[in-house]
């Protein structure tokens, strides 16, 4: 079946602009995650959604970052007033149940802030 999809695949934006990144998880997966991966770095957890529960936002680096998940499916990560240090690959993943299970990743969105 279809895997996790993300759009856009690449985004170049000017410093100070807002960006929206989209994630479409695997159908039926209740858990959805956002990670950030900078060059040569590991995956940095950002936010986690599980069903209808309140999201775990403990990894969001600042209040410029926010995310929502509509109808328990598609998720949007929004970065306001982008900074150059926001440049990274943003990865979305989903899993069948809670976060402890194997995660299925999308191809990522490469964000470049100029």
């Amino acid at each position: 079946g279809a895997g996790v999809s993300q759009s856009p695949s690449n985004k170049v934006t000017e410093k100070g602009k807002d960006v929206e990144l989209r994630c479409d998880p695997i159908s039926g997966h209740t858990a959805l995650y956002w990670y950030r991966q900078s060059l040569g770095q590991g995956l940095e957890f950002l936010i986690y959604f599980q069903g209808n529960s309140a999201p775990d936002k403990s990894g969001l680096p600042s209040d410029r970052f926010s995310a929502e998940r509509t109808g328990g499916s598609v998720s949007t990560l929004t970065i306001q007033r982008t900074q150059q240090e926001d440049s990274a690959v943003y990865l979305c993943a989903s899993s069948l149940r809670q976060r402890s299970y194997e995660q299925y990743f999308g191809p990522g969105t490469r964000l470049t802030v100029t």
Binding site: V4, G40, G42, L43, D56, L91, R99, S100, Q103, P107
Partner: protein, 110 residues
């Protein structure tokens, strides 16, 4: 402090040999550990999960061991092929959250 350590230097081996990658952790008590493969420009792909009460897990040419006393997992690829060249990430469970290592790049030469 909590740390997950994977060798940051690339591992170069010849085709047909066994590749062994190491994941060491400090100040975690994971109930399980996972290994992922990541190719350039792509998201990680799940390979194997091993629980704390399992010493070893196998899947085709892959073998994972988990030693909670040494706080270490070893990931083996037997009869390695150039197509196995990728970065391999370990991830462990911490309070029901997956925490990833930075990965080790494996290069298999023909």
């Amino acid at each position: 402090s909590q740390k997950i350590e994977q060798n940051s230097e690339a591992l170069n081996i010849q085709e047909g040999k066994t590749a062994t990658l190491t994941c060491n952790y400090t100040n975690y008590s994971p109930a399980y550990l996972q290994w992922y493969r990541q190719d350039p420009g792509r998201g990680p792909v799940f390979l194997l999960l091993i629980r704390e009460n399992e010493k070893e897990k196998r899947k085709e040419r892959l073998k994972v061991t988990f030693d909670t006393t040494l706080k270490q997992s070893l990931f083996h690829i037997t009869a390695s092929q150039p197509a196995d060249s990728a970065t391999y990430l370990c991830a462990l469970d911490s309070f029901q959250k997956l925490v990833f290592g930075t990965g080790t790049r494996l290069l298999v030469s023909p």
